[in-house]
Structure formats: C-alpha cells, structure tokens
C-alpha cells in the first residue's frame, strides 16, 4: 500500500507566499559573484525533484525561480508527476540530451540514479545532489544539515520531555529512505550517549509517508508495547498521525512527540500540547544553495567549495564536511525547531 | 376444428441476398403438439422468431385468434401467451431455482421489493404445475441439463402461456431424460397449451408430435398428421431426395489379428475389465446409458483416463499415459462436445483442421502457410465441408460442418483407430448421412478401425458391423448389426435401467 510520496511540508500553501513578497529566500547576504553578468555567461541549470506538484517541491521551485530572477541564469525545476525512480531517471536522460550545464537533483532512489548521473558527468555536466549523502556520482552533495545532528536534536528535545527515561518508538517513511534513517540513527546514538535510561521499544516503523498509516502503526505499537512514552518521528506525516493518536486517545502528557513537522501540519497539536516539538528546513533555501553551488562549480570557483564555505544563505553560512567523509559532501545547519512558544513566527 | 391460436398467411421474410421464408402458411391450434422439421437454413428458426415476435416479416399476415395483428413484437407475443425456450435456456446459473422461476412474474407485476417467502411460493407453484421435484434453494448452475430445462419450462408456464416453443429441446438429454421431458410435454398439452417442437431427431418427432411440418429452402414442403409420416418420408421432404439406408458391410476376416486389442481394461469404478477387439475396416458401435462408462472407456483409450489392463495396436503393446501417447500410436478421438473439447471457434477453419497434425504443415520450426492451406483445402473437399473459404471461423459453420472439421482434422493424422463419441449430435439429417457415408468409406478403403459411441440406435445399425452395449463399466451385450433390429436394441437398453 505504497502511498504517493507526500514528503515534507505539504502544508506549505500558496497562501503563505505574500509574507515573502520579494521572494521566498532571504538573499540579503547572498553571494554576488555568481550572476550571469559576473560569470559572463548564462548557464542552463535544471533542478530535478522526486515528484512534481507537491507543496514541498512547489516551495523548492520558488527558490529556483528566485535564483533565476536574482542571477539571470536559465534555471528551472522538473519532476515526475508520480513519485517513481524510473520516471526520474528518464527526466535526467532528457536533460542530458538537451545539453544542460548543470543538474541539481533530489534523488528518489540513490541506486537508481547513479548510472544516469555518471553518464551526465561523463558529458561534462555538473551534478549537485541534495538528500543523498551516499551518492557517488555527483560533483557535490549538499545537505541542509548533517542528518545525524538533525536526529540528535530531535532526541535532545524528546529525552527532556520524557525525563530521560522510558521506552520510545521511531518512524521512517520507508526503510530505504536514506536521510530519514540517518536521522533516526542520530537520534538513537544521542539517546545512548545522553539518556542511558531510555530505550527503543522495537525496530523503526515504516509508515509510507501517510498520516493514517502512521496513526495505525503507532496505535498498534502502543498496544504491543504499552510502556512506551515517547515517539521520535522521521517523516512529516508522523507529526499529524501521532498528534491525532495522542489527541484522540487522550494520551497527552503520557506520550511525548518530537519529530519532523511543519506548523501547518502539526501546529494545532503543538498548540494543544499533544506534541512538544517539530523541526523542519526550508526547501527554497536549499534550492537556492544548490544552484549557487552549481554556478560556482561552473565558473572555476571549485577551489572555494570546501568545508567553511559561506553561501550567504541562512543555515548555509559555514558548510562542514564530516570527518572521514569525502570532501565533496557538504553540510549546512539549515534546520528550524518549533515549539508552542515560537510557532507564531512561522506561517507555513 | 377450432380457430387457430396463431396463423401465418403467405408470410415472406427476406434477408440480404436470400428469402428465409417464402410465402409460408402455417397454423397452430390450441393444445396440439406440432413438430417443425427441416435442415439448417431451411427457415424453421426464422419461423420461430417471427412467431415469437423477434423478427418482423416483409409480406403476408399474422393472425392471433383469427384477428390480424400489425406490429407483432416480443411484448405482443408474450401478451398473446407465446413463450420460447431457447437452447441456452436463458436461466441465471448463480441464482436459486425459486428465484429463476419467480423473476418473470415479479417483474411483470412491477414490484420494487422482493418478498423471499412469496418468491419461494411462486417457485414451488411453478414446479408443482409440472409435478416435478427440484430443490428450490439450489443454484441453477448446480443442476443437470435436464433439470435446468425443466426449470426453463416451468418458468415459461408461469404466465398465461398458450403456446410453448421449444428449440431443439432434446439435444443434450439422455434417453431417460427425453422420456421425462415428453411426459411433461403431454401434461402441458393436457392443460390446453400448444407446443411447437423443433428437432433433428426423427424418432422423437414421430413419438411426440401430432402434426409435422417440414421446411426446405424457406418453403413449407410437407405437412400432415404424424401418422402419415415415417422417417423415410420426413427425410425425403427435408433433403428433397431419398437417402439410402445402406448398412456397413465389413469384408474383413475376424480370424486375422485385430488392429486394436484390449484385454481387462479397467479405469477406476467406471470401466471394469473390458475386453474389446477392433479389426481393420470394422466399425464397432458402443452404446449404453449415460454413466455406463462408455465415455470413460473412450477416454482411457485416448490416454485421458488413468487405467490398467492391456492395450495392443497391431500386436504391439501400448502405454497410453497421455493424449500425446495415443496420438503418436495412431489413435484419434472426436469428443462428444465439440464446442468445448474439439473446436477453436474463433479460429479459421484452416487452423482448426491442422491443430492435431501441425507437424505436417511445418518447415523446420516454422508453419508453412502454403502447405497448411493445401492440407486444409484437401480436408474441406474430402469431408465436403460447406464453406466459401478456409479462412472462415469455425464458429460460423453449421453443426454438421463443424463436426466434419473435427473429424477431418483427425484424419489428417492418418490414424489407425478412430473413436467417435456422438458423431452426429445436433447435426441435421442430410449432413448426418454425409458424415456416415464418409466414415464408412474410410473404414472400407483405408482399413481404419472405428469405435462409434452413440445414443442414436439407427445410426449404429446403419454404420456398424457389430454393436456393443455397456452397463456399469462392463460390456454386457455383443450384437451383430446385420441381424439385430432397432427395437431389439431399444428393448435391451431399457432393460438395463
């Protein structure tokens, strides 16, 4: 029962846009040396996303558009109409045939896109990837943050809510979802180090990015493991599914939640105290950052692309490379944490 | 005599390129049983469809109770009390007997809701009228053909029926079931209802009907009280010429080693220790009641039924574990139900003909179109299959021609033994004679040994030199066809019940 990829931030609606009348990304500090004028050439850069038409990637498209307007490069975003690895590969094939200068890609399946990305690089096309830290065939992999650090942050909040003891559950959209599993890895590692009295009740639950499946799986797990008092959520829909479960079953203050979520999806539950903490990042900024990196790679600024690079975007001021990882893997610190107290600051 | 219930006056019905009915006068009186005889295409189906309002006609007049009716459609026919039982019965196999019976009434009453009690009661009444016992709650799909037919008759009689038309009602029935059907038909007649029968089987026509009308080429050629007819007269009227009743004369020598020799053949409980010899050129008839084991015996000889015992072909012992074994040994089998077991209805004649002898039309691994067509053409002419070309689908042929395709197909494999199960079921009389003649010729000229399984006693007497009767898995009678009379065999068969 594979649900359509809902991914994150499905609540990012068009209604939220007027707040960013001048563009969705804060570019007051952005690099000025990457515009078409500065480069002396207009590059064509395509951003390929997992699936077209969902809110998360709609917002990413806004970032791409803004980049185009700000810099004058020929940039656009494409994605398959159904979340499907083969369809995404086909789109990349088409882009190679068109002869674009660079491809920014958010792979649906890392394994599936490796060969076609290798082909792209063989043709001299610059490849920048996002949400794919284990991808080999890319010039640079830019992650909004270190996945383990993101997960550790979720656990830090959950552990405090649970008072440092008790059992918890963890969810992922799919067991093959690289980044979500790394978040949970990071969360579990943080728990082992800082909250030794806590433990994971059972293996992570697979919820297919569907809030109703989250609800059913979590409900079932709570029946099976009645002493569970916490939930750490990987996929966005868990915040809605867990929130509804806690609200409906009256489990407020008995079961705590910390996980990926947006104010529009889970704000109501945050407000009512059913859940405690949600965390997200802004795809528009990530897209802007990927395209910036692509232009830098195309304009002989490769030497600058390394740990410590400042892209001039919030959360991407000082990129890092994890110890032992390949130097083309770059992390920002681009996450945003929301609690009941600061949720009013975010209107999407 | 009273006024006719329904009367046609000089009715002509044209189809593109032909006259299906040509100036036909026809009457049916209340409470009489009329038989309609004629070969396929003679116009009898067209007549039924006109009487039941399905077809319009081009010239002439139709009168109900002596009054001319214009615009005689299906509804008018039903209103006049005319009901047709089609060969497929038009029943609902997944619904219960009671519901099948009650649906018409409930529909005509224009009900919105269904009362299960009333439904059951209507069903019970309908069956009671025919004085038969069938489980009202059984789904029709689980009933035997005979019971389904009775349900169909009972349903037709639910409304104020005055004329019941039955299209080939005995085709799929066994002898005993035919007797039961006739008893029911006489009962219907006793209630004042007229019955119009369409049949191929002359014995049955002569037995049940009071009046016989024979059609040929769209015209009524003979009509009269049944007492004035015999089989020869009907046949002559239907075909326009005499069909000689030659018998099969076997000139072989029964001291010679038999072509097929079977000793102690058993297949489960259905065939028990059968001994059987077929000599070259012999046609041996096999009859018996349904369930006597005759079909199982044939299936065992064709490798379709696990069996024990000894089978020798020209002295060589055979192991028949599969159809392939049997075909390889030179045994051919033409099944009873050519629709489901023999023919590919949506495939052209040529492909149907070649299906069992595909090796003869190939070059290397590929099918050779020219050779295939040549073989097909040869079969079409050998078997005298009436078709404009070999690309016509088997489903478009008449029953007799379909049967010839199946037989012709097996002859292409050059068999040594041919087993025919009900070779002329549903085949009209002219066509039947052709098939018989062809089988006899083959046996005489090629030394083919034929085992002919049939319920049709005259067919066996005409074509076989020996006739075997089977009962409860054993052969109980071995008769010389030259010296045996039809009634004798009927008597013996009845005695087996």
């Amino acid at each position: 029962m594979r649900k359509t990829l809902i991914s994150l931030a499905a609540g990012l609606s068009m209604l939220a846009l007027p707040a960013f009348a001048d563009g969705v990304v804060d570019v007051s500090q952005a690099r000025k040396d990457i515009s078409a004028d500065a480069a002396g050439k207009t590059f064509s850069i395509a951003t390929v996303v997992k699936v077209d038409g969902i809110a998360w990637f709609d917002r990413m498209r806004d970032g791409v558009k803004q980049f185009g307007e700000d810099t004058g490069h020929d940039v656009w975003q494409v994605g398959p109409s159904q979340a499907d690895a083969a369809a995404q590969v086909q789109l990349i094939e088409n882009l190679i045939a068109q002869g674009v200068d660079a491809i920014c890609v958010v792979p649906f399946s890392v394994e599936a896109v490796e060969p076609v990305l290798q082909k792209a690089r063989d043709r001299g096309i610059v490849v920048i990837a996002h949400e794919a830290s284990n991808l080999k065939n890319a010039d640079y992999v830019l992650e909004a943050f270190d996945n383990k650090a993101y997960g550790a942050k979720l656990m830090e909040v959950l552990g405090e809510s649970m008072g440092g003891k008790g059992k918890y559950l963890a969810t992922v959209g799919s067991l093959t979802s690289q980044s979500q599993n790394e978040w949970i890895d990071g969360a579990i590692a943080y728990q082992k180090e800082h909250f030794p009295d806590m433990s994971l009740a059972t293996e992570r639950l697979e919820t297919y990015d569907d809030a109703n499946t989250d609800y059913n799986r979590l409900s079932e797990a709570l029946t099976t493991y009645p002493d569970v008092t916490g939930i750490v959520g990987g996929p966005m829909p868990t915040s809605a599914g867990a929130g509804r479960l806690i609200a409906e079953r009256g489990l407020k203050d008995k079961v705590f939640f910390s996980g990926t979520g947006l104010p529009s999806v889970a704000g109501k539950y945050l407000q009512d105290g059913d859940i405690q903490y949600i965390q997200f990042w802004d795809p528009a900024v990530a897209a802007y950052a990927m395209n910036t990196l692509a232009v830098m790679a195309l304009t002989d600024k490769k030497d600058e692309i390394k740990a410590g690079l400042n892209l001039g975007l919030k959360g991407y001021e000082s990129l890092t490379t994890p110890a032992g990882a390949s130097p083309n893997l770059l992390y920002g610190q681009g996450w945003v944490g929301v609690t009941k107290d600061n949720m009013a600051d975010y209107n999407f | 005599m009273a006024e006719p219930l329904i009367e046609l006056r000089a009715v002509t019905k044209r189809f593109p390129g032909m006259k299906a009915l040509d100036g036909v006068d026809f009457q049916i009186f209340p409470a009489e049983i009329v038989c309609l005889a004629g070969e396929n295409g003679s116009g009898k189906s067209t007549l039924i469809k006109i009487v039941s309002g399905v077809y319009d006609f081009d010239e002439g007049e139709l009168l109900v109770d002596g009054k001319p009716v214009a615009d005689f459609g299906p509804r008018a026919a039903i209103a006049a009390g005319i009901q047709v039982i089609y060969q497929d019965f038009s029943l609902f196999p997944s619904l219960t007997v009671a519901e099948n019976l009650a649906l018409n009434r409930l529909l005509s009453e224009g009900r919105t809701f269904v009362d299960p009690k009333r439904r059951r009661q209507l069903g019970a009444e309908a069956l009671a009228r025919l004085d038969v016992a069938i489980d009202l709650d059984a789904t029709v799909g689980t009933l035997s053909t005979a019971d389904r037919q009775i349900v169909a008759i009972a349903r037709a009689l639910m409304s104020d029926t005055r004329l019941l038309i039955m299209d080939e009602p005995t085709t799929a029935l066994t002898g005993r079931e035919v007797d039961r059907l006739f008893a029911i038909v006489r009962e219907i007649q006793a209630k004042g209802i007229a019955v119009l029968f369409v049949s191929h089987k002359m014995r049955e026509m002569l037995e049940i009907s009071e009046r016989i009308t024979v059609f040929r080429n769209g015209r009524k050629v003979e009509e009269g009280p049944t007492g004035e007819f015999n089989e020869a007269r009907i046949t002559r009227a239907m075909t326009g010429h005499d069909i000689g009743h030659e018998r099969h004369v076997w000139a072989g020598d029964d001291t010679e080693a038999p072509r097929l020799s079977v000793r102690g053949l058993s297949a489960g409980e259905t065939v028990r220790g059968v001994d059987l010899d077929l000599h070259k050129g012999e046609i041996v008839g096999l009859s018996g009641l349904l369930g006597s084991g005759r079909t199982e015996l044939a299936m065992a000889l064709f490798g379709m039924e696990p069996h024990t015992g000894e089978i020798r072909l020209d002295g060589t012992p055979l192991r028949l574990a599969s159809v392939q074994d049997a075909v390889a040994a030179g045994i051919a089998y033409v099944p009873e139900d050519r629709l489901s077991e023999g023919l590919f209805m949506r495939q052209p004649i040529a492909r149907n003909v070649i299906a069992s002898a595909i090796g003869r039309a190939t070059r290397g691994p590929f099918l050779d179109g020219d050779r295939l067509n040549a073989l097909a053409e040869q079969t079409v002419s050998d078997m005298r299959i009436a078709t404009p070309d070999i690309d016509k689908h088997a489903g478009q042929l008449s029953g007799g021609n379909q049967q010839r395709v199946v037989i012709g197909r097996w002859l292409l494999t050059n068999p040594k033994v041919l087993i025919l199960n009900g070779p002329t079921v549903g085949v009209d009389v002219g066509s039947k004679a052709e098939i018989h003649r062809r089988i006899r010729e083959l046996a005489a000229s090629t030394g083919l040994a034929v085992l002919m399984i049939s319920d049709d006693v005259p067919e066996l007497i005409q074509n076989c030199n020996r006739i075997l009767l089977m009962h409860r898995g054993e052969i109980v009678d071995r008769l010389d066809a030259r010296s045996v009379e039809e009634d004798d065999i009927h008597g013996r068969l009845k005695g087996l019940r």
Binding site: K3, D58, E206, N216, E220, A221, T223, S264, A266 | F92
Partner: protein, 323 residues
C-alpha cells in the same frame, strides 16, 4: 439438505472460519491483541475501506470491475473540503450530501461510457480514474489540507465516539454497518438489486426476462460512485486532513477484500456479509503485523500469503460445493 449443511456450504462460513482461526493465532502470539483499544481501532480501520468494498461489490456482482472509486473518493473529499473552506461553511449533512453527489456524477459518467459504447468496465474506470485524478491535481490543487485548515465540524464529526469500558469506539462504525444493512436490503430485497445479480449472471438473459439493463448499469456505477464519494469525505473527517493524493493503491486492497469475501470476478455472486468479513480479514492482517512482532521485511510476504491462502481456501471450497 439440512439447515446446517446449507450453512456450511455458504462461502461466508469458510471466510468466517478462517477469520476466527487467524484471530486466535494472533491472540496466542500476543494476548494484547484482545485489548478493547486495539479491537476498536481495528473496527475503525474497517469503515472507509468497507464502504468502498460495498461499492465495488455491487459492481462485481453486475459482472463489471471498478478501479475508479479511489479517484472519485479523493475528488469528492477534496472538492467538498475546499468548497467548505471557501464558503466558510460549518456543518456535516450538506457536505456529505455534496460528496456523495460528486461521486454519483462520476459514477454515472462511467455508466454512460460502459452502456452507450459497450466498453469494457476495466478500461472505462481506469480512464475515468486517471482523468479525475489528473483534473483534481491539475485544476484544483495539490497541497494537503492539514488540520489547521480542516473544517472543525468535519473533525468533530469524524472523531465522535462512544465510551465502552473506558475505551472509545468510533461512531463511524455504525455508519458503516448502517450502510451495509441498507446495501444488503437493496441487493437481496429489491427488484433493482436482484437485477444486478441477474445482469451479472447473464446479461442477455436478463434482457430477455425483461429487466431494464440500461437502468441497471447506471444504478450500479452511480451507486458505486456515490458510496465512494461518501467514503472519501468520511475518511477525511476521520483522519483530520484532506490529501488530494490519498487512496493510491486502494483499488487492489479493496478488490482483494471483496474477492476474499466470496464475490466472483465473473459476476452474479457475492454478498454483503461476505464482503464485510473479507474487509475485516484484510484490515486484521494489515494492522496486526506489529502486534504479531513480525519483522518489517517480512510484513509484505505475510500479507500476500494470507490473502492468497484465504482466497485459495474459499475458491477450493466453492469448487467442491459445485461438484
């Protein structure tokens, strides 16, 4: 035939027996299965899939197949919620009538193509599903309506419960059962319902007997669409959000449940009670994998095996009954 042996011959009996065995097995593996909270949640999970299954049942009895109901459900749900938001309307009855009507219209469109052009239902419904989903996403919107914009009246309705021994049973169960009873009455006690069976059994005979087959086709597909539309909005009100990409993959689950419940894909056979059991069987298996502590990687295998075995058992039993 005695009443008992008749009962044993019914295909529902076989499904029920398998169901009880499966429940006992799960209960042995983990006694927590029998907790009221868990059972109530199971029942709840039956509601939407169950109503959809009843819609598919009708189509399958008529000898057709419908793969468009998830698309119709999603369209009815999403359009209704958007309309409610646009109008600022807070109510329940009118929106459900609206969603049902949207489904009905879509279903009648199916019937139009199937009847007028004698098209194969599978092709028609595949096409209409694609068109409806495409139009919805292309013209109406792609973003999920989350709890922050869901009409509170719908949420309140979908979360109404009755307290039984400290556990909350969703009242939606009773809506499902109510619809099931109505469908049962329709299929077994009305001429229109019997027409569906007759049409599915033998369309030509149904015409000869005098059924209005055109009306039957429109009724079957219209009803299927209406039920799907209703189920769609109910789903949304029960999960407190409206996702325009929801119900993907429901076609197979629901058709599997209906077949599991003894309906024939060739038409003419099927029952409301069997379908309810089939749906329960499917949700039971799908929602008891964690309770049975089955490893993630084996869950798909277990679901597939149970469905195949259960269907094979019923089919085998049916074949024996016919012999």
């Amino acid at each position: 035939m005695t009443a008992v042996s008749k009962l044993l011959r019914r295909s529902e009996t076989a499904v029920l027996a398998i169901l009880i065995v499966v429940m006992l097995v799960i209960g042995v593996i983990n006694p927590a299965f029998w907790q009221a909270d868990n059972l109530f949640n199971l029942l709840r999970a039956n509601v939407v899939i169950g109503i959809m299954a009843l819609s598919v049942l009708t189509v399958m009895i008529s000898g057709g197949i419908d793969v468009s109901f998830p698309a119709f459900a999603v369209a009815a749900m999403y359009l209704t919620v958007i309309a409610m938001n646009a109008a600022g309307y807070q109510g329940v009855v009118l929106p459900f009538i609206g969603a049902t009507l949207i489904g009905l219209l879509c279903g009648l469109a199916n019937a139009f193509f199937i009847h007028t052009f004698r098209m194969i239902p599978l092709i028609v419904t595949l096409g209409s599903a694609s068109v409806v989903r495409g139009l919805l996403l292309g013209l109406v919107g792609t973003s999920i309506i989350n709890i922050d914009r869901m009409p509170p009246s719908l949420i309140a309705f979908g979360s109404s419960t009755v307290d039984i021994g400290g556990s909350k049973l969703s009242l939606m169960i009773f809506i499902y059962l109510g619809i099931a009873v109505l469908m049962w009455l329709f299929l077994t006690r009305t001429m229109a319902g019997r027409a569906v069976f007759a049409y599915g059994d033998d369309a030509e005979s149904a015409k000869r007997v005098g059924f209005n087959t055109r009306r039957t086709v429109y009724l079957v597909y219209g009803l299927a669409g209406a039920l799907a539309g209703f189920a769609g909005l109910l789903h949304s009100s029960m999960i407190w959000l409206a996702n325009p990409r929801d119900f993907v993959g429901y076609e197979l689950d629901v058709i599997a449940a209906v077949v599991l419940g003894g309906a024939s894909i060739f038409g003419g056979r099927g029952s409301v009670f069997g379908t309810i059991l089939g749906v329960f069987m499917l949700t039971l298996i799908k929602n008891s994998l964690i309770i049975m502590r089955i490893d993630n990687t084996w869950q798909g295998v277990v679901v597939g095996c149970v469905i195949v075995i259960a269907t094979a058992l019923t089919a085998w039993r049916d074949r024996k009954a016919l012999v």
